[in-house]
Amino acid sequence: MRLTLQMLISHGRVARKMGMGPQSRINMLRNILTGLVRHERIETTLARADEVRFYAEKLVDYAKKGDTDEKAMKMASFWLTEKDLIPKLFKVLAPRFETQSKDYTRIARLPNRQNLDRAKMAVLEYKGNPFPPLYPVKKENELTLINQLLKGYREERAQQLAAKNLLTLS
């Protein structure tokens, strides 16, 4: 084999090496992507989640083209190993992200795996999933003094505006 400098230098290479070669890498990513489409929130290592994120978003872009498009159907049938998820992709996920043009997924880091390898773990999810949010939204306590005063102020302002609108209308 010709030992080129390109083989030693990896400037600009975007795809990580995973598994036992390029075929194994694609198969692994396929499996993770199928799991993501089925459960909409999965937990893997950070590197795998990062790789799958790109493919997940591109798959949604293809799904947006519609299931009559043959290229989109070929891509979907290749990437989703469980074929009952293909209609879910086209009928549930594609309409959900119709208004957005990018950023369909979210990654959040988890504590490292408790095994010997202490691998960095992450949660990868599609936005708009039915589960409770990853970062719980902190609700401000409405019963504090300042919040009650502000609430009263807002109500007064709203009343004044309504009165003004009635005057201008009549």
Partner: protein, 286 residues
């Protein structure tokens, strides 16, 4: 030409005779005959004004029907460099194109290039060959021409925007089944020979470029590269004449069928191409 002129002369002569006969017969109806006024005889005869040359407006070829071609070196590669670098490079490329006409050509077309050479007589040398590869982007774009001269295969790699190049002529515009004809090195020499004194074959600036679906016969193996392997994806070789079906199957072991589904490797240039095409055409028409 001489024949029809004399025929015309005879016609004119006979017409004049007839006219004179008419005049003599119709002396009384001189008002009906159109004659120059008698007062003009003292002046010089009216100066012969030739009829205005007909202006040929070729309306068959509208701008919309002309083939839109964006040279591949204008399309920037997928890199992390600033787009500003590509835009200033494009400006320089257009400046050069305004001086030297770089025609539209594809891999498989036959070109003739005259280049400045201090050591040649007449200071220029001309090379005719078939284009086997177009590489590089931006100002360093190159193309390789191949020809066989005196039983010796010669390949010359020219830079499109080199100041040494004085003229590029397309003798025959055509496409082939592949983008890279490097396998012509291992093909029989008849497929790479181009007559240096070839006359340019006329081609129309509208419509599709003709695709030459020729399949090339190869010399016996070993070849410089294993062209049967799927990574080269060559359509233009007659493999059935040089390889057995078992060898073809064995070559398929190197196939990577997942590559066509790998979305990371896709580079969609359609929008970029449209934008660049309009930009280049605008700049060139200035």
């Amino acid at each position: 030409m001489a024949a029809c002129v004399s025929v015309l002369d005879k016609c004119m002569f006979s017409l004049r005779l007839l006219r004179n006969l008419q005049l003599q017969n119709e002396r009384l109806l001189s008002t009906s005959v159109c004659r120059p006024a008698p007062g003009n005889n003292s002046e010089q005869p009216p100066k012969f004004t030739p009829p205005s040359k007909p202006v040929i407006i070729d309306k068959t070829q509208t701008a919309a029907s002309l083939r839109q071609f964006l040279s591949p070196e204008f399309i920037p590669p997928r890199q992390r460099t600033d787009p500003f670098k590509f835009s200033i490079e494009r400006k320089d490329m257009i400046r050069r194109r305004k001086v030297l006409n770089i025609p539209e050509f594809y891999v498989g077309s036959i070109l003739a290039v005259t280049m400045a050479d201090p050591n040649a007589n007449g200071k220029t040398n001309r090379f005719v060959g078939i284009c086997i590869q177009r590489g590089g982007k931006g100002l360093g774009a190159t193309f390789v021409l191949r020809n066989i001269i005196d039983n010796q295969g010669v390949e010359i790699c020219y830079e499109l925007y080199s100041p040494r190049i004085q003229k590029i002529e397309v003798l025959k515009l055509e496409k082939r089944l592949d983008d890279n004809l490097m396998y012509l090195r291992d093909a029989l020499p008849e497929y790479s020979t181009v007559d240096p004194d070839m006359k340019p074959v006329p081609f129309s600036p509208t419509g599709e470029v003709p695709v030459n679906k020729m399949k090339v016969k190869m010399r016996p193996k070993p070849w410089s590269k294993r062209w049967e392997r799927p990574k080269f994806n060559i359509q233009g070789i007659r493999f059935d004449l040089s390889l057995t079906p078992e060898q073809m199957e064995h070559a398929q072991k190197w196939a990577q069928p997942w590559q066509e589904y790998d979305m990371l490797k896709e580079y969609d240039t359609s929008k970029l191409e449209e934008q660049l095409l309009s930009e280049v055409q605008q700049e060139m028409s200035k």
